[in-house]
């Protein structure tokens, strides 16, 4: 659960996950928050050993935070991992659905606001256009066919975790990570799930930032297509 300044929602998110998936370890990655995110995450479940908080000493952005979780999962040999946003927009029930769909043999399942006939929070019209453009670009560059390209609700198989733990994009990582997985030959499946609007705090993507977001994502995708897998910034070993 990547979380940056989510003290208003993080406790509820963790409690929700604990109730819905009691046999699952929950790792909150506090991405250098300046508020009480880590304390709230810890306090909500008392001495429950299944709830852990990793605090990053500086803000790395969503990519760095998610990668921290994936590296933890790889080090401790987890079979599957689900990524859930710390702002409360992903109900734990949806996380469970995404996780269970891995049983069908996919390496990655993406919780989608648009696939199927799901009703629920589906973002603003401007953002939907942006997400559609990224979706088109992803396919154009030989990536997977995914509608909700920026979804932060995804489940990963063990080998998908192993790949992304060592190679995860930094700034706006979701679409690019899908391309990485697809080019590595991993199967990606989109699962329709309901999502909610955030309850507290603000999105990390501002109106002005949207244009930059698009440019960064498209450049990242194109760059990956041009350079491929031959650059690795990390070394990480499974136990």
């Amino acid at each position: 659960v990547p979380a940056f300044n989510e003290e208003g929602s993080i406790a509820a998110v963790v409690a929700d996950l604990q109730a819905e998936l009691p046999d699952t370890d929950v790792l909150v990655v506090d991405d250098g928050s300046s508020d009480q995110t880590a304390e709230h995450a810890r306090r909500c479940c008392g001495r429950n050993q299944r709830v852990m908080v990793a605090r990053l000493s500086a803000n790395l952005g969503i990519g760095g935070a998610v990668q921290t979780g994936l590296r933890y999962a790889l080090r401790h040999g987890y079979d599957r991992v689900v990524q859930v946003d710390g702002d409360g927009q992903h109900p734990a029930a949806s996380a469970r659905v995404v996780l269970q769909r891995l049983d069908g043999g996919a390496d990655v399942t993406v919780g989608s606001r648009f696939a199927g006939s799901m009703r629920g929070f589906a973002s603003t019209p401007m953002r939907r256009v942006g997400i559609a453009i990224i979706s088109w670009a992803l396919r154009f560059l030989g990536g997977p066919s995914v509608l909700d390209t920026t979804s932060g609700l995804r489940a990963f198989s063990r080998r998908a975790v192993a790949l992304l733990a060592v190679r995860y994009p930094s700034d706006f990582p979701e679409p690019e990570s899908l391309l990485i997985l697809h080019r590595a030959g991993y199967r990606i499946e989109e699962v329709p799930v309901p999502m909610a609007a955030r309850r507290h705090g603000n999105s990390s993507i501002t109106r002005l930032g949207s244009a930059f977001y698009m440019a960064r994502v498209l450049l990242g995708l194109a760059l990956f297509r041009a350079t491929g897998m031959n650059t690795t910034a990390f070394e990480e070993r499974a136990p």
């Binding site: 990655v29 001495r47 050993q49 852990m52 908080v53 990793a54 605090r55 990053l56 000493s57 500086a58 790395l60 760095g64 990668q67 921290t68 590296r71 933890y72 080090r75 930094s170 910034a233 990390f234």
Partner: protein
């Protein structure tokens, strides 16, 4: 170049050279950068002392107006330098990212070990 501007250039170059040497003395620069800046400061000093040098350089580059040659060279050097520094910053960022992640994960392990030994002691 008239006399006044030449004096300014010479004084400026020497001041810059002293600044770099002072940084060197305080070890505020990594060795490879101190060499780079020493060379650059030295080059500006040479050009401001030896006026003909600039004309020869311009002639070699087939540039009619000598100061323009100076601009060309300066632009090139500054561009390359800026590019190099951005690359260094990116690399440093990547390393920092790995270190911050490792630090967080190790701290988590430590906390868990500590709470485990606490519960086993009581």
């Amino acid at each position: 170049m008239n006399f006044d501007i030449q004096v300014v250039a010479i004084v400026g170059s020497i001041a810059f050279l002293l600044l770099v040497m002072n940084d060197l003395r305080g070890r505020r620069l990594q060795p490879q950068y101190s060499i780079l800046w020493l060379v650059l400061a030295g080059a500006t000093l040479v050009i401001s002392l030896w006026r003909q040098g600039l004309e020869i350089l311009a002639h070699l580059l087939r540039i009619y107006y000598p100061p323009a040659a100076l601009f060309v060279v300066l632009f090139l050097v500054l561009f390359l330098l800026a590019h190099h520094l951005t690359r260094e910053a990116s690399h440093a960022n990547q390393s920092l990212r790995a270190v911050i992640q490792d630090c967080a994960l190790l701290r988590l392990e430590l906390e868990r070990l500590q709470s485990k030994t606490e519960t086993s002691e009581t």
